[in-house]
């Protein structure tokens, strides 16, 4: 699967003179009759056969020739089949018969130039023929409304302030980097209304000193095995869109409380009456408690914060998890998003979560996964779309990686790229896990899928892909395996290598679909070939949640990336750490945000 973004912006190679001549000579007819002979060969090819059981062979090869049945080309003008050795002879003898079709791949070949050629109309015809074969006769459920995708298609242009703008910014802003300790080690980069000196920026040297921690870093006290909650909260407190939402007062806890009081007054009194604080008890809102927390954490106060109110509210929401026992951080994350959704969504109509219009939690985290199940016999594909708030990945097995290492020893010389070397040493990578997630998986013989086309249970292939990437993607690494023999689960401690910058392009539905019918030049479902999509699939890591210990008991720690520096948040203790420590940690949840929304470092915006 090609992973370079250049491959996705398809540049059409100019047609060779023979192809151009063929097209201008009215080459439309063979393309149209071709669709009757196209047969999909899942997972990623399409072949051309006149009858289903036809075995083509080269007309010019003697019966015993070795390559009589290999790399065959069918002439588009007269349907004569030749092998790659004889195809040029056919073209030489008959002018106008240069263009042929690879019978096993349905790709165009010019026998005179002896090279593959590309024609968009041909590829379009092939794809349309194959998708109409593979699609259900029942209209599929409508994919999410296009206005969502169009909304994000605004071209991203970086903005730099002009001198007038700079002056305004200088007058009306205050630095985010709190300067503590020496006045000489300057970390603020903008002039404030109060200060008399303009300090120059030397960001990297001062940011590494522990005294100048950026705003928003504050330890969270452990209230009794609540490290699962603290670690997720630290990550959410620094999730760019969520942070901006709460810090710009979009959910005001006082307003929310007033609203619910009004609602409580209209409804009949509930039979559960608390003696202490009736107004407080009736208003349990996770978003309000989050609002309180954001205000507390981004204030000047550096003392560790105790999220007692939040814990209480969450216990009300997730009563089955309400105890002082250790819990799973991922479970808490899902439960929390659900809690925010519950409180935020009553003002608007109930919409599908994939839109993300219902609440801030879904706007930030929700995406859509596409699942295709393909019949291996006839190629018929059934597609479903499911909304998700995170992506759970299995650790890719390094067993296959070891086999490459041994086979490499056998080759005499190899110019393979270094991207394979990490696999050769058996290390799991996040990209490897994503590739494993989006691979075509053969469903077992006991899981035969009922194919509507064949009207029978057939063996099938399942393939997942990402239809809509969320603005903030949370990857959950499934670090547990269940052993059927011993009937117990255990934790998998294998190290996972993860990148700080991630391109999700190859795992999108558009890329997966493109690879399904071979090498085609064709715009696919939800595919944009303009630059804004390339940017929209690039992500930056901003938080890493790690787990140490066993399945039954362990400890969670969050690493946060602020201004390109890494900070370790271990309950109440927050400290600056180096990159290498983060890379060596055992990732359990990884938070990536779209690159265009990520402010890597604010220090370079103004050079004073």
């Amino acid at each position: 699967m090609s992973s370079s973004s250049a491959a996705r912006a398809i540049r059409l190679p100019p047609p060779c003179p023979h192809l151009a001549a063929y097209r201008s000579g009215g080459g439309g007819t063979p393309f149209r009759s071709l669709h009757r002979c196209l047969r999909p060969r899942p997972p990623s090819r399409a072949e051309v056969r006149r009858d289903p059981g036809e075995v083509p062979f080269c007309a010019s090869c003697p019966p015993a020739a070795a390559h009589r049945g290999l790399r065959l080309y069918a002439c588009l003008s007269c349907a004569a089949v030749s092998c790659h050795a004889h195809v040029s002879d056919h073209a030489a003898l008959r002018p106008g018969h240069e263009i042929a079709l690879d019978v096993d791949r349905a790709e165009l070949f010019c026998a005179a130039c002896r090279d593959q050629v590309y024609d968009p109309d041909f590829d379009a015809a092939v794809v349309i023929a194959l998708t109409s074969l593979s699609c259900s006769r029942i209209p599929p459920p409508p994919p999410p409304p296009e206005k969502c995708a169009k909304r994000r298609r605004v071209e991203y242009r970086p903005w730099v302030p002009d001198p007038k703008g700079r002056a305004v910014i200088g007058r009306r802003s205050s630095p985010l980097l709190v300067q503590e300790g020496n006045a000489s080690s300057a970390s603020s980069t903008t002039t404030t209304a109060n200060s008399t000196t303009t300090t120059t920026s030397s960001p990297s040297s001062s940011a590494s000193s522990p005294s100048s921690l950026p705003r928003g870093l504050r330890g969270i006290n452990n209230l009794g095995n609540t490290c699962f909650m603290n670690s997720v909260l630290q990550a959410l407190l620094h999730t760019p869109l969520l942070r901006n939402y709460f810090l710009s007062d979009r959910h005001n806890r006082y307003v929310c409380q007033q609203k619910s009081k009004k609602k409580g007054g209209i409804k009949e009194k509930s039979n559960v009456v608390e003696r202490k604080n009736p107004a407080r008890e009736s208003h349990v809102c996770l978003a309000c408690d989050l609002d309180t927390m954001y205000a507390a954490v981004f204030s000047e106060d550096r003392k560790p914060f105790s999220p007692a109110n939040f814990l209480y509210s969450w216990w009300q929401h997730a009563s089955n998890l309400a105890s002082y026992e250790q819990q799973d951080a991922h479970e808490f994350f899902i439960s929390m998003l659900d809690g925010i959704h519950e409180k935020e969504q009553d003002q608007c109509k109930h919409q599908s979560h994939g839109n993300g219009d219902c609440c801030i939690a879904h706007k930030v985290f929700s995406g859509i996964l596409r699942s295709d199940v393909t019949c291996t016999i006839c190629g018929f594909t059934s597609t479903t779309y499911d909304p998700c708030v995170d992506i759970s990945l299995d650790l890719d097995s390094s067993r296959d990686a070891v086999q490459i290492a041994t086979s490499k020893l056998q080759t005499c010389e190899s110019d393979t790229e270094s991207m394979l070397t990490s696999q050769a040493y058996g290390i799991s990578t996040l990209m490897g896990c994503l590739e494993h997630f989006t691979r075509p998986e053969k469903l077992g013989a006991d899981q035969k899928f009922f194919c509507e086309n064949c009207r029978a249970r057939q063996e099938s292939l399942k393939q997942m892909s990402i239809r809509k990437i969320p603005l903030v993607t949370c990857f959950h690494i499934k670090r547990f395996e269940h052993s059927l023999i011993r009937n117990m689960s255990r934790k998998v401690d294998r190290h996972l290598h993860f990148p700080f910058s991630l391109d999700m392009g190859p795992y999108l539905s558009s890329s997966i679909l493109r690879a399904r019918y071979g090498n085609r030049i064709f715009a696919f479902d939800g595919d944009d070939s303009d630059a804004s999509t390339d940017l929209a699939s690039e992500f930056e890591l901003f938080a890493v949640l790690t787990h140490s210990g066993k399945l039954e008991g362990g400890h969670y720690i969050t690493y946060l990336r602020l201004n390109n520096q890494w900070y370790k948040c271990d309950d109440a203790w927050v400290s600056h750490v180096s990159e290498s420590i983060v890379r060596a940690s055992q990732a359990y949840m990884l938070f990536y945000v779209q690159k265009i929304l990520y402010y890597r470092a604010s220090q370079h915006v103004f050079a004073s």
């Binding site: 007309a59 019966p63 015993a64 593959q116 080759t411 394979l420």
Partner: protein
């Protein structure tokens, strides 16, 4: 021009008579007729993808195309470059598995 004019050339009447098919040919025909060849091809494809052989070949082709320049490479070039390396680097386990399958097919087909 009517399409019937563009028919494939009719075979010569005085073509040499077909010789007795060799054992290799018989096996090949049996494999194809029973559909076993198709299954074996699919199995081979699956195994070669699983063990990373296909990705390795892709990387070799990419490196070659980069070296020669994107517009100076043809399909034939790539095949000439990749075929010897490809044949040499097929893992033994894959070869063994396919041989085993062919062997069991032959015993069951009772030639």
């Amino acid at each position: 021009m009517r399409s019937s004019i563009n028919r494939p050339p009719t075979p010569d009447a005085n073509e040499e008579p077909e010789k007795e098919p060799t054992l290799q040919e018989i096996i090949n025909i049996k494999l194809i007729e029973s559909g076993e060849k198709e299954k074996l091809m699919e199995l081979l494809r699956e195994r070669l993808i699983e063990c990373g052989w296909r990705d390795e070949m892709k990387a070799i082709c990419r490196a070659y195309a980069r070296k020669k320049g994107r517009n100076n490479v043809t399909v034939d070039d790539l095949i000439h470059v990749v075929t010897p390396k490809g044949r040499a680097s097929v893992p033994d386990s894959v070869k063994a598995e396919l041989l085993q399958r062919i062997r069991s097919f032959l015993t069951s087909a009772a030639i």
